[in-house]
Symmetry: C2
Subunit: 306 residues, 2 copies
């Protein structure tokens, strides 16, 4: 048998993971946890795959605006669509949350969940990361894929808990991470049930029902999983409450933050970042003894071999 977590350097982070898994799986030990309680949660953007220079779903929405612009001549004169259509990088950087939501709504609402899935999968198959020149689903982190496998082998119950839209996440998470659709939690919008000639469908509507970020993460973990996680892995302030929540009564727990400190192989950003800002959570990690994973020193490799 090859050693566990081969893309992880032998440092504090790898040792913390190995000894945590050994502790909760040691039958008869006071730290033993039954398999049904071994809940582990992972943020996606910046934790399982690259989130720089822009969230992947934002890029998808931008490409959809361009594809749909032919049918929307009025967009050429109206923000935020104008910025997208003119590739105005400065204006795009300055997009408010409201503007970003307008883009997502304009491109995602009105279609059935089945049509959306088809479009997202087609886009993911064709799109390439601007710097790494590979599909976004190959800009996932090799050490994290190994960690998911390692936890699965030890009967952990794995869930993705992401600020991204749940329908977008499900278009790739099952194949990419081996995590089933029912274990993918994300932001979600209203849908409407319609009985059409071809059968029942759900139509995506323009209003958000749950923003799965910050406090929304533990709230959705309770709603969808109904148990507290033992292990939580994030990379930004949006994951702070999820990591705090990883503390089931009397059970051992492990909280991890990925620190993007590797401009050479990926990106380096934390307290000043726009996307994936890591500020308060880094303070908590220091004061509460959370495990900070350094991309530069803890990971032998970043991405899977092409």
């Amino acid at each position: 048998m090859s050693p566990a977590l081969p893309s992880w350097n032998d440092g504090d982070a790898r040792r913390a993971l190995l000894s945590f898994v050994a502790a909760v799986t040691a039958e008869g030990s006071p730290t033993f946890v039954r398999p049904e309680d071994r809940v582990a949660v992972f943020d996606n953007d910046g934790t399982l795959w690259a989130e720089q220079p822009m969230y992947v779903q934002a890029r998808f929405a931008i490409d959809r605006v361009k594809a749909l612009a032919l049918h929307h001549p009025e967009w050429h004169g109206r923000q935020p669509f104008k910025a997208v259509l003119e590739d105005d990088a400065e204006a795009l950087q300055a997009l408010s949350e409201h503007d970003a939501a307008a883009l997502v709504v304009a491109t995602h609402a009105g279609m059935t969940t089945g049509e959306f899935r088809r479009q997202a999968r087609e886009w993911l198959a064709a799109a390439r990361h601007p710097r790494f020149q590979r599909p976004f689903t190959r800009c996932v982190y090799q050490p994290m894929l190994e960690l998911l496998d390692y936890l699965r082998e030890h009967d952990f119950d794995l869930h993705v808990v992401s600020g991204g839209g749940v329908d977008f996440l499900r278009a790739f998470c099952e194949e990419t991470y081996g995590i089933p659709a029912s274990h993918i939690i994300g932001s979600s919008g209203k849908t409407r049930f319609e009985l059409r000639d071809e059968g029942p469908v759900l139509v995506k509507l323009p209003s958000l029902t749950s923003l799965d970020d910050g406090e929304g993460k533990p709230i959705n973990i309770h709603l969808h999983i109904g148990k507290r996680p033992l292990l939580a892995f994030g990379n930004s302030d949006g994951d702070l409450q999820m990591l705090q929540y990883a503390s089931a009564d009397g059970l051992p727990h492990l909280r991890l933050l990925l620190h993007h400190d590797d401009a050479e192989r990926e990106y380096a950003y934390d307290r000043d970042a726009r996307a994936g800002r890591l500020d308060h959570a880094l303070d908590y990690a220091a004061s509460d003894g959370w495990t900070v994973v350094s991309m530069r020193s803890d990971w032998k490799d970043v991405f899977p071999v092409q």
Copy 2:
């Protein structure tokens, strides 16, 4: 090996279940379905356990009002509390949905999800069904317990999809049905994340975010499971859209309605019922070939042996 589904009489319903499971598990056959797609959904009230003469959760709310009345002298003069405190059966029968919601809110909101779970479990351990004089968790249907086991043995992925509150359901579903917390879908309310001295908690708030009934069932199935069910089992008009939704593209499916036609062993009600009304769904069953399960003629036993 003993025969499958021993509490089911050898009739159309049992044969439909056996032949459906045989079809989707026959490797190499065109009707074969991969285990990860064998999603089965079950309503709870009136499908897995008795819902007459009153929904169990309504009874819980009523008992909570009585327990809390000492601290709320004003309730004695105010409806719907007055009706509860005076055991005014007629006024309770006439409760509007708004009144029922007021009771649930008054008794469920303000506490943490952990406190609520503890209270619900204590109540379920002590309360008895007024007619059958056994705990409500023993007023589950023996043939349905056997069906859950049978489907589990054939690698189905089982979910409860109930109009009841998800926190109430989780207080007993795992032990009673062997279905894990993450596979329990119910109505849900807002919660607030609080970081207290003893750690993070979620506080239940008085506003409903999702009513898991009617259209809400397929909408929540999509949100929580992300796949269409192959098999759906309900007993009322509130299950109609869930049964319609059990029709994954190109996969076989089976839709079942439990018909309460057994006044002697349980209850007999359908088109005129207040709780668990079965009217439109019965028409659909006739026109679309859904399987109607007669409690009186399809079930050898109704409840588990004490």
